[in-house]
């Protein structure tokens, strides 16, 4: 289990995260939702060890992440950024191969190459394998980044809006790949998402952030209520079950009350174990 315990983070003097608590279980998908700028990306970066939290710890299968060497951490956590700057582009194959770096001393072994090729094939990227990554569409590039994180062979995956550049079909495909992998390889997945419908459908647990704090967390049907959505997003929404899925339909912008977001929802689950 990946445990985030009472995490705080500041950018300079601005508090961005406050007392974040989350548990990512193996084989389960936990989605972070919340409006722009609430700290979803920041939270993922803190967990991945890219940013150093001001307080709080991340514990991976009983080991404190802070005490782990970088290479060791990279064997436990794969991180897929929202987007990636490219300078001096490599090919798709080389980019995915880079995911093997925690296992590579100075040049990739035969195993590393085979593993890379397998993943490229699984992700249906074989046709692009010899293309340079700066010549891909946004969606293709996003798939390559996921493939690279998969090549890391980690137990946990951190995904920052993995479907933000994908079309309808690829979005579904990508999420299905992710949950299938989570189940099959018993990986724990923590992802930031904007689409409430899809996150409700594909996650076991929802963590709703508002202004750097956990607003609520729980099963999708518990977290995605009209009241919560009004408080967090300032949007009136209709929520109903349809075709076996939770349907969240935004209706209109709500009047923003001054005390918005300060209401403590009754069902904040105690996440300490």
């Amino acid at each position: 289990m990946l445990k985030v315990m009472n995490l705080y983070f500041n950018y300079n003097d601005t508090r961005v995260l406050e007392g974040i608590v989350a548990n990512v279980e193996k084989g389960r998908v936990l989605s972070i939702v919340g409006p722009n700028g609430t700290g979803k990306t920041t939270l993922l970066k803190c967990i991945a060890g890219i940013l150093k939290p001001a307080a709080g710890t991340v514990v991976i299968d009983g080991h404190d992440a802070d005490g782990m060497a970088r290479r060791e951490l990279a064997k436990h956590l794969g991180y897929v950024p929202q987007s990636m700057p490219v300078r001096f582009p490599a090919t798709v194959f080389e980019t995915v191969l880079a995911g093997r770096r925690p296992y590579i001393a100075w040049r990739p072994s035969r195993d590393d190459l085979e593993r890379t090729a397998e993943i490229i094939e699984e992700m249906n990227l074989a046709d692009l394998a010899m293309r340079d990554i700066d010549q891909l569409s946004g969606g293709q590039a996003q798939k390559v980044l996921l493939a690279r994180a998969l090549a890391q062979d980690t137990l946990y995956l951190l995904l920052d809006e993995p479907t933000s550049n994908l079309d309808l079909r690829h979005e579904l495909e990508m999420l299905e790949v992710i949950i299938t992998l989570a189940k099959r390889k018993d990986m724990g997945v923590l992802m930031a998402m904007h689409d409430l419908n899809l996150s409700a459908r594909f996650s076991d647990t929802i963590l709703m952030l508002y202004q750097g704090k956990i607003f609520c967390s729980g099963k999708p049907s518990e977290a995605m209520t009209p009241e919560n959505i009004r408080e967090v997003y300032g949007v009136e929404a209709a929520v109903r079950q349809e075709n076996g899925y939770l349907q969240i339909q935004p209706l209109r912008c709500a009047d923003l009350s001054p005390s918005r977001g300060n209401r403590i929802p009754p069902y904040v689950k105690d996440q300490e174990d």
């Binding site: 060890g49 490599a90 770096r101």
Partner: protein
């Protein structure tokens, strides 16, 4: 393993093999260029005579080969290799295609360090003093660039502007030193700036070789990490690279290489910028191959330029820096025009 995955692996290996082939070809070409350079000179020795003088003591011929031509060619090779290598490393760690020892001002700083040692100690200095002075100042200027790069949102442009500012600063300081120096000292410095390759003796070569070649294996060992830097610090961190330590140690290594290349020959600017780019255009951005190949291409350019500089206007010798630019610039333009897409 099934067919598709097998094909993919084979595709990757084929590319790696092609790159290794390029390395081998560049190495062979370099040896050839050095051999040609050895056979050409003012004294007009024949090929057979050159070989004989190289192997056994034949009196005058022997000393021409061993005391004049060979040191000069070996020094040209070392300097070119160092500039190409340092350029590739600076470009990788700053993620900046405009970076090179020259454009970052690191070369001028090293030059200033060397010149101040020459002037301060007058005639009474040891060769390794010059090397130390050059290294010290190249390190200072590289640290400054690194500090600027760390500043929030320091763009490529900011870094290069800082570099150019440094270049002017250190050139002016060098001029000031000359202005204040005596006639002999000034002569010494001018000679250092232009006479360059011809002054290299085996002692200097040994020192330069140590400064350029010793950091090379360490840099090559980190080649994979340089590859990861190209997709940003965050990705590199997430893949287990200790980015800060990598940058620091690479900057020290590249400064040492730059100082080694410059301290006995003066600033040969252009090679450090173009050699990595020429190499990129041919074999791509994998630093496992890019680092050694940039060095070899740089060496090839300087050795070739030196041979040309000694022959076209013989017995006059055109300074190496000038010839390098004359052949490097048009060739680079040609490649720029010919390329089909952006490589950086």
């Amino acid at each position: 393993m099934n067919n598709i995955a097998d094909d993919l692996c084979r595709g990757y290996k084929a590319r790696a093999d092609a790159r290794a082939l390029f390395l081998a070809a560049a190495f062979f070409l370099l040896l050839t260029a050095m051999a040609i350079g050895l056979c050409i000179g003012a004294s007009g020795m024949e090929f057979r005579e050159v070989i004989a003088s190289l192997l056994k003591d034949t009196g005058r011929g022997h000393s021409i080969i061993w005391m004049l031509r060979l040191p000069r060619i070996v020094m040209a090779m070392l300097v070119g290799f160092g500039m190409g290598l340092a350029g590739a490393v600076f470009q990788a760690i700053l993620r900046n295609p405009l970076a090179s020892p020259f454009t970052l001002g690191v070369g001028s700083a090293a030059g200033f360090g060397a010149v101040s040692v020459i002037l301060v100690f007058g005639g009474g200095f040891q060769t390794w003093y010059i090397a130390c002075g050059a290294f010290l100042f190249s390190l200072i200027s590289a640290a400054l660039i690194l500090a600027v790069a760390k500043m929030k949102r320091a763009s490529s442009e900011t870094m290069i502007l800082t570099g150019i500012a440094q270049m002017f600063l250190f050139s002016s300081l060098t001029s000031l030193l000359q202005y204040m120096g005596t006639m002999e000292q000034v002569h010494e410095v001018v000679f250092w700036f232009f006479g360059s390759l011809s002054k290299a003796g085996w002692r200097e070569i040994g020192l330069a070789a140590a400064m350029i070649l010793l950091p090379f294996p360490a840099l090559l060992w980190r080649a994979w990490d340089f590859n990861l830097l190209s997709s940003g610090d965050e990705s590199a961190l997430a893949l287990g690279v200790n980015v800060k330590r990598l940058r620091m140690s690479a900057v020290v290594a590249a400064s040492l290489v730059t100082a080694g290349g410059i301290c006995f020959t003066g600033v040969i600017g252009f090679v450090g910028l173009v050699a990595p780019h020429i190499t990129r255009m041919v074999i791509g951005n994998d630093h496992q191959f890019l680092l050694p190949a940039s060095g070899l291409v740089g060496a090839l350019i300087v050795v070739f330029a030196d041979t040309l500089g000694r022959t076209v206007w013989a017995p006059q010798v055109i300074p190496i820096g000038i010839v390098t630019s004359f052949i490097g610039v048009p060739f680079f333009f040609y490649l720029l025009m010919k390329r089909t897409r952006e490589y950086w």
